[in-house]
Symmetry: C2
Subunit: 123 residues, 2 copies
DNA sequence: CAGGATCCATCAAGATACTG
DNA sequence: CAGTATCTTGATGGATCCTG
């Protein structure tokens, strides 16, 4: 039994389940795997997300210690988001998801357009 | 660009995201990693799920070719669910989630009660 | 630039009862 | 045993406008 973020979990997988039972957070992490990003960059890269939702998700990820938020006291404002060490450790998880997704498409779907989908796992 | 289950995805991770953006499906897969299960077994093992929700999720997973449903024409009825080959290939994904969850607890949470959480990855 | 504030629509999911 | 059928609710996310 685990206790984290004010909740109890019977299995460590359910922690991951709970954190990422969400339409956006995985995508945000995905883009942050490339390196730190400004708010605006994330807003543009995480396709279709609204500002309100992005803000909420960033706050939530920060609260759960998966990302770090650094504010530069400038005008205009500059805020940079990056993965924490534990957030960075999600890379292998995303990698497995990425690879399974490709297997799944091969079996049950199709590639409709080639795009050099960012390879974040070359290392 | 990928096309699967009537939708387009820009990245294979978003396929996984889409399938498992859900409170229950990961847990169902998790229990099926142990082997085939009857409806009732899943109902008991996936803690807190209702019958209605379980049925919906099983149907959805079946439609997406992640699980197989076999009906035995008996009275009383017997229905057995199991992972398809592509469903079985989710094992490494779940494994990474499992392991990351443990790291996460070490860093940000605590183990409140020891329980020999099913180790499905001993192989 | 990086958000905050509102209002609103949707839908997943819970509760409960019923059935071939 | 393995589901269905309704009804209800709460949270997520969308749309739009505002601001230090």
């Amino acid at each position: 039994m685990y206790y984290v973020n004010g909740k109890e979990y019977i299995c460590s997988v359910s922690i991951v389940q709970d954190i990422f039972n969400d339409k956006w957070k995985l995508g945000i992490i995905w883009h942050l795997l490339e390196g730190e990003k400004r708010y605006k960059e994330l807003f543009e890269e995480v396709s279709e997300i609204t500002q309100k939702t992005l803000t909420i998700k960033l706050r939530d990820l920060e609260e759960k210690h998966l990302i770090k938020r650094v504010v530069f006291p400038e005008i205009p404002p500059k805020v940079v988001y990056s993965l924490t060490p534990i957030g960075e450790k999600l890379r292998p998880v995303l990698k497995e998801m990425f690879e399974w997704g490709i297997l799944y498409v091969k079996e049950c779907g199709e590639v409709t357009k080639m795009n050099a989908c960012e390879v974040k796992f070359s290392n």
